[in-house]
Subunit: 313 residues, 2 copies
């Protein structure tokens, strides 16, 4: 078999283009209203992953001319305390967007995240998680859409990958990626199949698709038999692997990425097996794929929320 | 070719079973609260089709022990007048459900229906068309779901047709049938593909499915090549045909249904071609299929809204 290397879809390039396209509108908004679009980020506790995400969001927002306020609550904060912060940001005239960083401390209860997302003013819901925004997305109406799937649409557009008329498989049906991804692809006239843990013959179903988006949370789950030769594959998985043997089984014993494992004691692997690069026509890898797009779309959503709030006044 | 006749899924049987299952709960609600669950139906103008639908809904509601109030507005009513009626029903303590019959007079404007659906209190939205209910449906949370797709789920369950693990094709992506149908099938663990006017090779895509739900609004569109032998086919189309030659082309020149055409000057045909009955394993036909289920689910939604409102007090 001749190994054909897939075209690698570089997320950083797309994110940079998105942020460059947002910048003039941010400047115009700031000049017109006398204040920059502003995002309030709420971080509860000190989860190391969340610290990194939030730091990146604050930095990216600042670079694009947005005001980003980071509100920290102790890991011992109650759900009521968190809801009070959300309420204050809802009523704040100068905050256009609100983001509550996941995950929340388990002590807040199982449905805490949903209660918090439901409490965010839909007009400031830059994550697109409020039921009213999910409903508007489903209905194909203008709205604040979840950042990762919107970023993937932007990536496909950036690289000229046709969506209308294509068959698309979305593997995974989470509220954050899978379902909104399917709805956005449908809005763009793809023929969409949603696959999940209960899908029979999932590889064969996936192999019908021209575009495969994978967000199922299982390292290396999507192997070459899932992919029609030449298809576009978008990996959304971020699985932290702490077992060296498991990492080696997926990456191959001679992978240079194992050196990184040896330095750090862990590695983030996507849901897509590396061998897929030999079958796919185009591949958005992990790392290097959709990560920076999510942040770029967050900035775009904050700007959109700011413009809509100003227009509504 | 040997013609194998599909099992006919009789909607009236399922609707009767649903209504019988609702009745004791209606009686219990009425005994406990001193009033029956109440539905307000708003009818604007005198569209003959709407008159029939509304009459059927009023009759079915009464037979099940619900109170159904029909509020009529003249065909010349303005959108503001209609919104004022909706607002009154929203605030009415004794109305649990609100249904505004479609279609609205064209003079009300293109987005009138959406503005009206958005104005209905989500807790009384027995049609399930409000964005917040659409969002909750998408998120897989308990909610008031649109009546026709919920009725189809009830029909599949009634006849013991397995949904979990099945491949399902939904042909048509309307907000009223196609999209909520896909989401309800997904919630029940089917692997769902949504097909539409832009789907390439639509017959081949449909022919992968074990369950095909058709709501595309084109008489006889789904021909035997769309159907895997033995699959279950649910026809949701109601296309009024006024051209006898067109009806004969679909039904066959010797069809006894043409006698009905000759008596009435028109005929309602489904989206599924009659020849599909020779390929499908089970078929919900038009007429005789999902029609009465929609009304049964409306009664069920009204009861559910009444119970939820009482529990919330």
């Amino acid at each position: 078999m001749t190994a054909v290397a897939a075209r690698i879809l570089d997320g950083a390039t797309v994110a940079a283009a998105l942020r460059a396209s947002v910048q003039p509108d941010v400047e115009q908004f700031t000049a017109a209203t006398g204040r920059p679009p502003a995002l309030g980020i709420v971080l509860v506790g000190e989860d190391p992953g969340s610290e990194i995400y939030v730091k990146t969001k604050v930095k990216a927002g600042g670079e694009s001319g947005l005001k980003v306020d980071l509100i920290r609550l102790a890991a011992t904060a109650t759900l009521d305390e968190l809801l009070a912060v959300v309420d204050r940001l809802n009523r704040s005239p100068e905050h256009d967007g609100i983001l509550v960083q996941s995950p929340l401390p388990p002590a807040m209860g199982r449905d805490a995240a949903q209660r918090v997302f439901d409490a965010v003013d839909p007009a400031k819901d830059v994550d697109g998680f409020h039921p009213v925004n999910v409903g508007r997305l489903t209905q194909g109406r203008p709205n604040l859409a979840p950042c990762t799937p919107s970023g993937i649409i932007a990536m496909l557009d950036h690289f000229g990958i046709a969506i209308a008329g294509a068959r698309a498989a979305v593997i995974g049906r989470s509220d954050i990626v899978g379902k909104p991804m399917a709805l956005l692809l449908l809005r763009r006239d793809a023929t969409v199949t949603i696959c999940h843990s209960k899908t029979a013959a999932i590889a064969a179903v996936s192999a019908e698709a021209d575009i495969v988006v994978v967000a199922i949370g299982r390292a290396g789950f999507v192997t070459p038999d899932f992919i029609k030769p030449g298809a576009t594959v978008i990996d959304v998985g971020t699985n932290r692997i702490t077992d060296r043997a498991a990492a080696a089984a997926i990456l191959g014993a001679s992978s240079p990425r194992l050196d990184a494992f040896d330095r750090r004691g862990s590695l983030v692997l996507g849901d897509v097996h590396p061998a897929v690069a030999e079958v796919a026509g185009a591949l958005s890898p992990v790392p290097g794929g959709v990560g920076p797009l999510t942040i770029a779309m967050l900035l775009k959503n904050t700007l959109a929320a700011a413009e809509a709030r100003t227009a509504a006044v």
